[in-house]
Amino acid sequence: MQVSKHHHHWRKLKSGCVSIVCFACALAVIAPLGLVLFHLVRLGAGSVDWHFFTALPKPVGEVGGGMANAIVGTLTLLGLAALLGVPVGVLGGIYLSEYGSRRFNWLVRFMADILNGTPSIVWGVVVYALLVIPMKGFSVYAGAVALGFMMIPLILRTTEEMLTLVPNSYREAAYALGIARWKIILHIVVKIASKGIVTGVLLALARVAGETAPLLFTAFGNRFWNHDLKEPIAALPLQIFTYAISPYEDWHRQAWAGALVLILMVLALNIGVRFLTRGKFSARG
């Protein structure tokens, strides 16, 4: 034992060093979040005023203007996307958890994971081929369908996960009362998991709210108000992108302001969801 005493100290030291390195890694991972938020507030806060939420963009050269149309556009797109993504995703998730053969469900789960990993730009291209070419133009519909398609696999997987968290004993108790299967699923199982399912939906919304790539050639963007769902529409992320890569100082300021508003929307959804899941069936046990 005497001999290894020195050796033991060395091992202790090594262990301590690794702890410090790991701690530094954690700091490095979080640092970008702090930096991005800091710059967003520093460069964006000054331009977020009443006009920003109420006015249309001004043409190049004129100072001022806002992103009212883009904010409304993003909300419109999200609403329509939810109309497509939520029912398909939730019902699909219910099917996976409660019905279906093992092999078929494995296949669907696998495919959903592949869809979740599909780059968002690909969705844009696919919806362009699916809707923009046949309809001969960019439209709100195309943008909403692209976002809706992205939401489906996200919602499907969280819904399924939340439903499998519901203990089987509740299903058995309901079966023992002689209740039909679809009623058990709808009125008892889904109800118990409802918090988690809503969480999944909100997280999916937060996720697609910031998407730009699928909108580039579907919703396309619009400098004015949109009055027709068959016409192009503005969206906050699109507007940020257009302004960011433009050569104009004033537009850069607007881009920072838009980014600040967008991130507040997304983070509010994310943090709001966290409070919702403080209950019994949280997504992260």
Partner: protein
């Protein structure tokens, strides 16, 4: 409804395939290995994009992997209990930042800083290798790699953390009982057990990296050339689609862009399948409700 998911997969593949018919016939496999992207003369080769996509993604993974695994180890093995949840929440918030916002921060904050400090330093110290030579523009494959690293840190970290958490405590206890230090326990009992899964997490991150569009488009410089230097601008499959789609006026041009999408889809699918196969065994995602 579940069938819808299958239909969606078929739809995605079929639409891209259909859209790229023209170039598929015209160029065949040459499309993948030709380095000339010349819309004026209707000559399309995707090699610069494939090159840019892989190089920037691999840089991203190389930066992100050690940081993520270190963080995951910190979160599962070292951090005090009260700190774990908040740190994880911050990492999830990082994941929630939209790509376009990271890109905005990239062009106006990160790229100028890189141009003024780290890049000249790298050039001075490592300039003898071909990878750190040539003029420094700021926008570059390396800048894209760093942005990608930031974007995939959260996913690699959280999946690695799940994997580490799935290592049974009995493994750790066995190592402690042998008198191992904390790091030795982590290395012997935890990491060797979780190696495969962490590799899977990396592949998952790589899958994301390959398809990253907006942030990369904003900092990579968008020039379709194959340069040895990491300071040189590049182009990726995703950013080429994003930039050139609206300029694609001829049918062949459009078809070429569809084929870029097809290539991108196939590459990400393969990566994701490998990732799923590697992670699948760890039962990540099959968590039991709290309190059990």
């Amino acid at each position: 409804m579940a069938m819808f998911v299958l239909a969606l997969v078929v739809l995605v593949g079929w639409k891209l395939f259909q859209g790229s018919q023209l170039t598929l016939h015209k160029f065949g496999w040459r499309f993948l290995v030709q380095s000339d992207w010349d819309p004026v003369n209707e000559n399309y080769g995707a090699l610069p994009f494939i090159f840019g996509t892989f190089v920037s993604s691999i840089i991203g993974v190389l930066i992100a992997l050690p940081l993520s695994v270190g963080t995951a180890i910190y979160l599962t093995e070292l951090a005090p209990n009260w700190l774990r949840q908040p740190v994880m929440m911050l990492i999830e918030m990082l994941a929630a930042i939209p790509s376009v916002i990271l890109g905005l921060w990239g062009i106006f904050v990160m790229v100028p800083w890189l141009r003024d400090w780290p890049f000249p330093f790298l050039k001075k110290t490592l300039g003898f290798t071909p990878f750190f030579q040539g003029p420094i523009y700021g926008v570059s494959i390396l800048a894209a790699g760093i942005i990608i690293a930031i974007m995939i840190l959260p996913i690699i970290t959280s999946v690695s953390r799940e994997i580490l958490r799935s290592v049974p405590d009995s493994q750790r206890e066995a190592a402690y009982a042998l008198g191992a230090t904390r790091w030795e326990v982590t290395r012997i009992a935890v990491l060797s057990y979780a190696k495969r899964g962490i590799f899977g997490a990396t592949m998952l991150g790589l899958g994301r990296a390959l398809g990253e569009t907006m942030a990369v488009t904003m900092v990579i410089g968008n020039r379709p050339e194959i340069a040895k230097s990491l300071f040189a601008p590049g182009y990726t499959l995703a950013s080429a689609i994003a930039n050139e789609f609206s300029e694609a006026t001829t049918e062949v041009y459009l078809s070429a862009i569809f084929e870029l999408g097809l290539v991108l889809l196939l590459v990400t699918i393969v990566t994701n399948i490998v990732a799923q196969l590697l992670i699948g065994n760890f039962g990540v995602g099959k968590r039991v409700p709290a309190g059990h």
